[in-house]
C-alpha cells in the first residue's frame, strides 16, 4: 500500500493533501498497489473527501488525545499505521505539519526521507524522488535503500486530479496521552487568504515599493486577479511592518505558483531560491539590467507605480478575477 498522511482544514481536505493523494494514486496504479489515506485528529469529519482523489482505504485515528498537534504522538500514529497496513511508501504534503511529522515518522520506521519532492516514481519496487537542491540551482534524484520510503510533496506541483476510489473507512486506535511536546496555543492564523506556499498566483513587492503603505497597490492588483501578496527580504527587513510570513526566498517561503509577479525586486539568488519553481514569472522593474529579467517569461521595464495601477485597471476591465 501507498499511504498518504492527509490534513483537514475546517472539515475539508486541504489542497496540498489532495495533490499528494492524486500523486499517490498515480504511483499506486503504476505499481499495482492500493492507496490509503490517513487522517489524525480529534475529529476526522471530512475524511471521506479522500475517496474523490482515489483512496481505496481511509484510515482515521480519532480521539481527544489528538486534539492538539503533537509531533511525537502523530509520528507514532503514522508509523504504526504504515506497519499495520503493510505500506512501504508514506507520503505527506510538505506543509508545516507534514514537514514536522514525516521525518519523525521516517526515523521511527528506520526509513530514508526526501523532502519537498517535485517528481516521484516507483523504480524496481521502490520510491524515487526528484527534489530541488542548492537554491534551485540543481535537482537531486533521491533513491532509497530502506524497506520503508518516506517523502513530502511540494504544494502546487502535483495536479489534484479527481478519480473516484472505494474509500472504505477504517478506524484506528488513538494513543493514550503523555506526549513529549504538544501545541498549546495557535498564536496567529493564516486568515482568510490562502498561504503563499499554496497560492496559485503571487504578486510580490521588493525594495522598489519604497514604503509598506504602497503594498496596497499590490493588494488591489492581487485581489483583481485572485492572487496573494508576497515580499522580498529587503522589503520585510525594511521596517515597513510586513510580517516574515510574507517573505519569499531562501530564508522565507519556497513557493511554486503558476504565476509569480515580481514588482521592484532585483532577483538576488536568495530570492530566486524561493520562487524559481514558479511556472510563469513576470518582472516589473525600472532597471532593464535587473537579474530578475533573466528568469522572466514576461518583462516590463518601467516604473511600477505607473504599471501596477494600469494592471489592476486592465484586469478589472477584462474581468480576469471573476472567472
Amino acid at each position: 500500500m501507498i499511504l498518504v498522511f492527509c490534513e483537514l482544514k475546517d472539515g475539508q481536505l486541504r489542497k496540498p493533501s489532495a495533490e499528494a493523494l492524486s500523486e499517490g494514486r498515480r504511483l499506486a496504479d503504476a505499481s499495482g498497489k492500493q492507496l490509503g489515506a490517513l487522517f489524525v485528529g480529534a475529529s476526522c469529519a471530512g475524511a471521506a473527501d479522500a475517496a474523490k482523489y482515489g483512496a481505496d482505504v481511509i484510515l482515521t485515528a480519532e480521539g481527544g488525545t489528538l486534539a492538539s498537534y503533537s509531533s511525537d504522538a502523530f509520528a507514532q500514529v503514522v508509523a504504526d499505521a504504515v506497519k499495520a497496513k503493510g505500506a512501504t511508501v508514506l507520503l505527506a504534503a510538505a506543509t508545516a505539519v507534514g514537514k514536522d511529522v514525516a521525518p519523525r515518522a521516517a526515523a521511527r520506521l528506520a526509513a530514508g526521507y526526501a523532502s519537498d519532492a517535485t517528481a516521484l516514481s516507483i523504480v524496481d519496487g521502490k520510491l524515487q524522488a526528484v527534489r530541488p537542491v542548492y537554491a534551485g540551482k540543481a535537482f537531486a534524484t533521491t533513491s532509497f535503500a530502506s524497506a520503508f520510503q518516506v517523502a513530502t510533496t511540494r504544494p502546487n506541483v502535483f495536479p489534484a486530479a479527481e478519480k473516484a476510489g472505494a474509500g472504505a473507512v477504517e478506524a484506528l486506535a488513538a494513543p493514550t496521552g503523555d506526549f513529549k511536546a504538544v501545541v498549546k496555543e495557535i498564536l496567529a492564523k493564516a486568515g482568510g487568504k490562502v498561504d503563499l506556499s499554496e497560492a496559485n498566483v503571487i504578486v510580490s513587492g521588493g525594495r522598489g515599493m519604497k514604503d509598506g503603505a504602497n503594498f496596497k497597490l499590490l493588494e488591489e492588483f492581487a485581489d483583481a486577479i485572485g492572487g496573494v501578496v508576497g515580499a522580498s527580504r529587503a522589503a520585510v527587513d525594511a521596517g515597513w511592518g510586513l510580517p516574515h510570513s510574507m517573505q519569499v526566498g531562501q530564508t522565507g517561503k519556497v513557493v511554486s505558483p503558476t504565476l509569480y509577479i515580481a514588482c521592484g525586486i532585483s532577483g538576488a539568488i536568495q530570492h530566486i531560491a524561493g520562487m524559481s519553481g514558479s511556472k510563469f514569472i513576470v518582472a516589473i522593474n525600472k532597471d532593464p539590467e535587473a537579474p530578475i529579467f533573466k528568469l522572466a517569461s514576461y518583462g516590463i521595464v518601467g516604473d511600477l507605480f505607473e504599471v501596477v495601477p494600469e494592471l489592476t485597471k486592465a484586469a478589472k476591465a477584462m474581468g480576469i478575477g471573476s472567472n
Partner: protein, 249 residues
Amino acid sequence: MKILVALKQVPDTESRIKVAADGRSLDPADVKWITSPYDEYALEEAIRIKEAKGAEVVALSVGTDAAKDVLKNALALGADTAVLLKGDGQGDAFAVAQMIAAYVKDKGFDLILCGNKGLGGDNAAMGPMLAELLGVGQANVVVKLELGEGTFSAERETDGGSELVVGALPAVITAQKGLNEPRYASLKGIMAAKKKTIEELDAAPAVAGAQVSALALPPERPAGRKLEGEPAAQAQALLQALKDEAKVF
C-alpha cells in the same frame, strides 16, 4: 544546563553549482563553504542561554576534516567545546541523526539546537529524526524559545501563522530566522578559540536510508519577452499574453 548545537558545513548560496564527474555529487572546485545560516541562529540561542542563566555549550559537526572550520568559528563565537564526528562525507540526514544520537546518549544534554534545515540540502529532517531516535520532544522552525524548569515553550512558524509548542526537556529545537540576531566573532573570541582543541571522534556506524543517485542542473528557462509601450499598453499586453499564451487566467 548542557546544550548541544549541531552545525552543518554547506556551500554558500552564491557558489556556482557544478555536477561532479560521478553525476551525483557536487563538484567542490568553486565552492565556498560556510556554516548553514540557520545553524548560526541555533548557536546564537545557545550562547544567549549560557549568558542569561549559565550553560555548557558543545558545538558538534558530522563531516570530514573540512568541517573543522565550522567548529573553530563556533568556538570563537562562544561555544565551550567542539566535537567533530568523523565520517566519510557520505550519508543522509538519517545517518547523521544516528551518529549524533549515539554521541548524545548518556551525556546528560538538556537541550539540542539545530538549524531548521541545512542550506542547500534543505531536507529539514535531521532534527526531527534525532528527536525520534532519542525519544524526546521537538519543536521545528522556531522563532522564539523560552526555558522553564525542565520545560520549554517555543513559538514555531506554521503555514501563514504560528503556534506555541510546549514540552519537557530534553528536547530538540530547530531554529528559524527571527529567533535572534547572531553576533560576529570578537577578536578576543577568535584568540581564545585558537587555544581550544576540537575533539575528534570516529562517528558511530550508521545505516543511511536514502542517497542522492543523480544530480542535474535544471532545464534552461525558455527566453522571455519584454512588453513595450506606454504603461497602459504594457499592462494590456501582459494580461492578454498571460491569458492567451500562458493560459494562466
